[in-house]
């Protein structure tokens, strides 16, 4: 499943997409420790699979919470993406 967390407002689209099919075979859950804001958690989803998700309290403000990782110039690799070796995480902005 592709789970898109975030929002679209007048200024743009801000979604973090987690391809949860990749989470199934992941045992180290790098996303949890990789994100300096602690935005990820691993849960058992509605289909009883162990998957990563963005915590509820971050979903309406990810543009602001991710701002530190996304300087306007010379953007380094995002810590969440670097930590997720199966490559499940993508950002729309």
């Amino acid at each position: 499943m592709k789970a898109n967390y975030g929002y679209m407002d007048g200024s743009g689209e801000y979604y973090i997409t987690i391809d949860t099919d990749h989470c199934n075979n992941c045992s180290h859950h790098g996303c949890i420790t990789g994100c300096p804001k602690g935005m990820f958690q691993v849960i058992t989803d509605d289909y009883d699979d162990e998957v990563a998700e963005i915590k509820e309290e971050f979903r309406k403000k990810i543009k602001y919470d991710c701002a530190d990782c996304k300087p306007t110039t010379d953007r380094p690799p995002l810590p969440c993406q670097a930590a997720c070796t199966p490559g499940a995480i993508t950002h729309s902005w």
Binding site: G10, K60, Y64, T72
Partner: protein, 255 residues
């Protein structure tokens, strides 16, 4: 040399006339339905105060969101360019400039000579600019002028969940119904907007010194929240809302 800068903001239009680097006069009007007409009002006010006629102006540069619709202007400069140039004049030590207008917020990093190195913008969403505070003061039924001071009286910081100006309005109304003191709500509103501005500033990097310009700098509640968020002091120049117009007038002189 006499030049004029016109800042065509979404809500207000501001005009500033410079003579050999000295401010001769300022003019201001509310941006109405016909912005060209509103610009004319502010422009004529400034001319009158300066005691000159339009023909005596060597150059007129417009800036702001509506800069293309200023009929008097002979040239234009971007908001970012004007803010950086103007801020360099009034707060030369500043390397980071925060400019908050009614509909947009901007963070600009300069090289110390008024040259723009980098910038970030919050736009097209009322939650990230001055409109947010305006809408909330309306919901609270407090005059905008008193709204900022009110939040300084707050004793408790409460979070706001809504990240949208429309939903936040309902949240403010339910907080009121729940008998939350108005000053605490006011503080929550200012903290929320300051949070969003601070994260934008972080994207360009926070370099001391920091100058705050634009009309929102008049709001002590916002300034207080911003300082707490940045964990630093900010410089607020005199006539902070005219810095854009000043920048445009200076650009006119430079060229």
């Amino acid at each position: 040399m006499i030049t004029a800068g016109i800042d065509m903001g979404a809500r207000s239009i501001r005009v500033l006339i410079l003579k050999d680097g000295e401010v001769l006069a300022r003019g201001e009007s509310t941006a109405g339905f016909d912005t060209a007409e509103s610009a004319e009002l502010a422009f004529n006010e400034a001319l009158e105060k300066a005691g000159i006629t339009k023909d005596q102006l060597d150059k007129i540069v417009a800036t702001g969101a509506g800069r293309e619709s200023a009929p008097q202007a002979t040239d234009t400069v971007t908001d970012v360019g004007a803010a950086a140039r103007g801020a360099h004049e009034v707060a030369p030590q500043a390397r980071t400039i925060i400019d908050i207008g009614a509909e947009e917020g901007r963070a600009i990093k300069t090289n110390g000579n008024g040259k723009v190195m980098d910038f970030a913008v919050n736009e097209k969403c009322a939650a990230g600019a001055g409109s947010f505070t305006e809408a909330m003061s309306r919901a609270l039924e407090v005059e905008l002028e008193e709204f900022g001071a009110l939040s300084l009286e707050s004793t408790e910081s409460i979070p706001m969940n809504a990240q949208c100006a429309v939903f936040a309005e309902s949240e403010v109304v339910s907080l009121l119904h729940a008998k939350t003191p108005k000053q605490d709500i006011a503080r929550a509103v200012h903290d929320a907007i300051a949070d969003r501005i601070v994260s934008m500033v972080r994207r360009v990097g926070i370099e001391p010194e920091i100058a705050l310009i634009g009309a929102v700098s008049r709001n002590p509640g916002f300034v207080d929240a911003l300082k707490r968020g940045l964990e630093r002091d900010v410089i607020i120049p005199d006539d902070a809302e005219f810095v854009g117009a000043l920048g445009a007038a200076l650009v006119a002189t430079d060229e």
